[in-house]
Symmetry: D2
Subunit: 351 residues, 4 copies
């Protein structure tokens, strides 16, 4: 049993992570921290877990890198960006492996971080060793990583569908548009008027147009895949569901398809490309030509659904994905990374 | 008091129309028809209107063009496409003016109708005289129309934001993408599994990708505005709200804006364009640079909200709109057309 | 045109009241106050009203009894309890008539206030002159009132169904149980974790069991109607809708109904009782024996629906009501009181 | 690995049961039947399970007792009442053990069945051998049962809180009121207008007042516990959540509690009673005096939450419970029964 801990376990991602780790057969959750809940039991903070054997003995504590390093081999950080870095550095120094769910270590460039997050990066020296924790793409690097930067929820829903196409040279790197719809848990557990039930229910709205912070990591990873600098258009929307992200991507195929035959050829290439990339992936579900993604089929699971359609009228490729923002988009893929790092079967605790 | 009637008043648009006409100070609702509800009072079919003076005396009847033509000067058709045309022809012959909320008379071309609706047009000879009832765009023609084809809900949310820009030559006619999110009432009051509460709640999904029927009227009207054939990309999504459409449009400005100055110039042109087009329109709300559309601010009203952002990173113009699919997207704008046709103040019964 | 003002117009009831008064044909809304929004226009605070003629000229101001008394004849207080009393006293002294939507003047006894609200009453000398603004019950007294205490949302849904039965001696004053379900707007526009979308959506929960504050006014009014001290059981629940209260009442008929005949007789008496009390009331909808209340049929209206069933198995009378907590349960009935006070037709601006 | 099958696996309870059995470590799901889905794979019918190893090989088949009896030792019936009995008889004859989720075998009396279900019982001879599958109450009898009648969702939420109090003589058998709120999945996957998203969202309504069918099994089991005939009042309400039942019970303690001391004594007895009954039960969560049930804390789990309050003002005991209607109220407790029948640990596959 590998010993693991979570710093900042009181948000929605943190709660989801607690649930996954409690149910995981090969790890023991030895510590959870939360400034606001320190001293309370797991059962008090999360009634949902109150029947778990640990619920009345596992106490939330004040976060302390020193103490946690003495207790756990792997430490998850489920903290706001900017705060996570403060804990990562000492934990790494003390020998822990760290899986950070914040944005702090996702970018390779401290300048880019400053541009998008509006502050100096708190630990730029760690950026080089951090591995972007998109398991299906960076599995080998994750295996030996000391510091994994788990991807954002929107980026996951955008990168997994595009990267194989991009690597295969099937789509252009220019003109990419990502239109995403997110459930309200994506905003975190914050007491703000904007996220009150009455303000979100029976409401649909775009936000952070046109420069959402997640653009930085999306473009970094797309550029890596394409071998050239990629700039995309991204519009997030808030919709009244608890969980789920639905992303619609507008892509331009490299190959023109002016008639039925060339369209069929291109379709075959795209189909092969996805099958090669994800046919054996346990957490990617490639939908058939009659099915479109629906968040209700992935919520509560670590699966991302992907479907695509060629549009003969416009010459575009439309790709759609659905995921649970708190699982595949956050805690689930963090556990997937942990499984890889520890040599466990990658699906352990996630099916 | 102008006498009006509704054929097919039992769906969601029909119910909304009943409400608007009951509250309208210059018309009298003299007949409502519905095959399934014939013989029942308004109060029985729609408890919501049960306290209205007419609620216990106005009976739903079987639809009959002859009888209705004897009772009403203006007849609204809130019927499925294909069925509306059956009633329009005799009603027009009998001297009624007709406002059709279905898709039957929105296209100028019977061939296009067949391509998108999969059947021969039932009354092609009427297509020439029908006026597309987008009040802000075709006000003059609506005034004298005998047959108004009230626009679809998605088209309204797409056309009103684009047409002024297109007419002014500010955006290209190519590469337009419309990504729309609609509440479930848009699917109509139909007992189908797909629209059950449990299937829609906590679900988000695209549908009808890539060739939704509304594309035909959208492209027809955009082509008219641009003076050339326009083909667009359109992706509708179903989201768990009762009402509301949020549309995000991706447009390419004709003018390149590579630096702050050219961006400012273009922004000024766009702002002027919208002010000229809609500054005096009572039902178009142009949002300022700090505000984005939110369906909750338009639901239950005949207003469409429009906001836009230039993206210096991608060179695109992103325009967003919000409307109530049952009001501005259907019954409200049908009443707006009626007001124009009757010489009433255009906002009567709609504010 | 009667001049009216609202102190504390930024909450949900306040917003609803603004909407009703803007649309009211016989009043002019001359001032709205809000500490947090002072200096902003109506359009900025409530985008929903942005197309109203006053939207850009009516500015939110800091609350000041002196200034408002110079502007308006009638002042609505939409403030938290405890705060409303501070404004009521000077406004009354300066000659205004006051309609208070808070709980401050609903009780006749300052001791009872202290027992339920946990603090000394801030203006006990005003309790004697306040009239409990349940229009259907206290219409005559409201007409000449200087200070109307508009009832709470739960009390309205409980009192209107019970009082006629109680006055007619048809039900016992003992053993009454009221089980109520309320939409989240009932909790107010407060940035608290408990009312976040994610905490309320897909959640149902009782709260304030067993001693909710509204019990005090409910029991006061039921005691008045019964002519004896009444104590009831009341359980409020929070459910994931924006608006609406559904109340189920369990009552013991005075008359035993052991067989079909006595049951029929009692049913006739109850039916007559309700018809006498509410048959002519524009805002009470008595449902027939095949229909049960549904909040969706009253939301956005000032109507309360009432249905009842005798249960031959248990000997009980079950009465159910549905209302919009922000309209009939708050702002709508406050406007109804205003109409009575001003001699307007009672339904003006409310149908 | 015990081989199990499900007849009627296409409804909401059936889908939940499929999920639980697929994840259960000690059973193998060898057959699922559904008239409408026969020939389709599990992956096609339930995309949610599409990544399970069986998803593409397990085909839905036409129901056939003979064939299933050759494949499985335990057969679950997730069919409408009236239909389940048709399969139970041959399956039992062929040696299978049967767990029926319908109402067909819950009553001991065929007359009572006819009174509440409006038809002759289809297999009255089986009623004597059926065991009511409320695990916490009838564990011993379930162990050896050939035919388990799994309780209804409402009954579970009502019986588990009352039975211990009733057995201990702490509450009266008369005057019991149960007020319940259910999510829409309780109505089943039926294409009916009443359960459309738009009809349920932003709606709250009682139904089946005053004689819901579940009363029959509730009263049967309460009578057994009390040792005398019990008649209760029960009001179900439909609320806009997918899952969850919240029940509020109004009970009269046998012992009067007029002062603080007697109230404390009674509270201690109730507390002890529940601890004795459920202190060791893995699926009953007794909440402390500061916490009230919330469906969001039990949805997706087999747990029922119970809280209670003595009301010194009214002399009543209010007990509240929350459960997931599809898990503890249906498929979860059916699996719990199976675990008992098979000698597995009772929590296997349910934690």
């Amino acid at each position: 049993m590998k010993k693991v801990a979570i710093i900042g376990a009181s948000g929605y991602s943190g709660e989801e992570l607690v649930g996954l780790l409690l149910a995981h057969p090969q790890v023991e959750l030895v510590a959870v921290t939360s400034r606001q809940n320190a001293g309370q039991t797991l059962a008090q903070v999360f009634p949902r877990f109150a029947n778990h054997p640990l619920a009345k003995t596992l106490l939330f504590s004040e976060p302390s890198a020193e103490r946690l390093a003495g207790q756990a081999e792997i430490v998850f950080l489920a903290l706001p960006h900017g705060v996570a870095a403060e804990y990562a550095a000492p934990l790494l120094k003390l020998g822990c492996r760290v899986i950070d769910l914040s944005a702090d270590f996702r970018l390779r460039s401290a300048e880019l971080y400053k541009d998008f997050y509006g502050r100096e990066h708190p630990a730029p020296e760690l950026l080089r060793q951090a591995v972007y924790g998109l398991s299906e793409i960076h599995r080998a690097a994750i295996k030996d990583a000391r510091l994994v930067a788990s991807p954002g929820c929107y980026p996951t829903s955008i990168l997994l569908p595009i990267i194989p196409l991009s690597r295969a040279g099937l789509v252009k790197s220019t003109g990419i548009i990502a239109d995403s719809l997110s459930g309200v848990s994506g905003a975190g557990r914050k007491a703000e008027l904007d996220y009150l039930f009455v303000e979100c229910n029976e409401s649909v709205r775009p936000y952070a147009v046109p420069k959402h912070r997640h653009l930085s990591e999306i473009e970094q990873e797309l550029s890596l895949a394409a071998g050239e600098q990629v700039t995309i258009q991204f519009t997030p929307h808030l919709i009244p569901v608890n969980r789920g992200i639905l992303t619609t991507l507008y892509l331009a195929p490299e190959q023109h398809f002016g008639d039925a035959k060339s369209m069929q050829e291109l379709a075959a290439k795209i189909s092969d490309c996805y099958l090669n990339a994800y046919g054996q992936e346990p957490f990617v579900r490639l939908l058939d030509e009659k099915t479109l993604p629906d968040t209700k089929n992935v919520v509560g699971t670590n699966v991302i659904e992907i479907a695509w359609r060629l549009d003969g009228r416009t010459g575009r490729l439309v790709v759609m994905s659905a995921e649970d923002n708190l699982v595949k988009g956050a805690s689930g893929q963090a556990v997937q990374s942990m499984n890889i790092m520890c040599g466990f079967s990658e699906t352990t605790g996630l099916l």
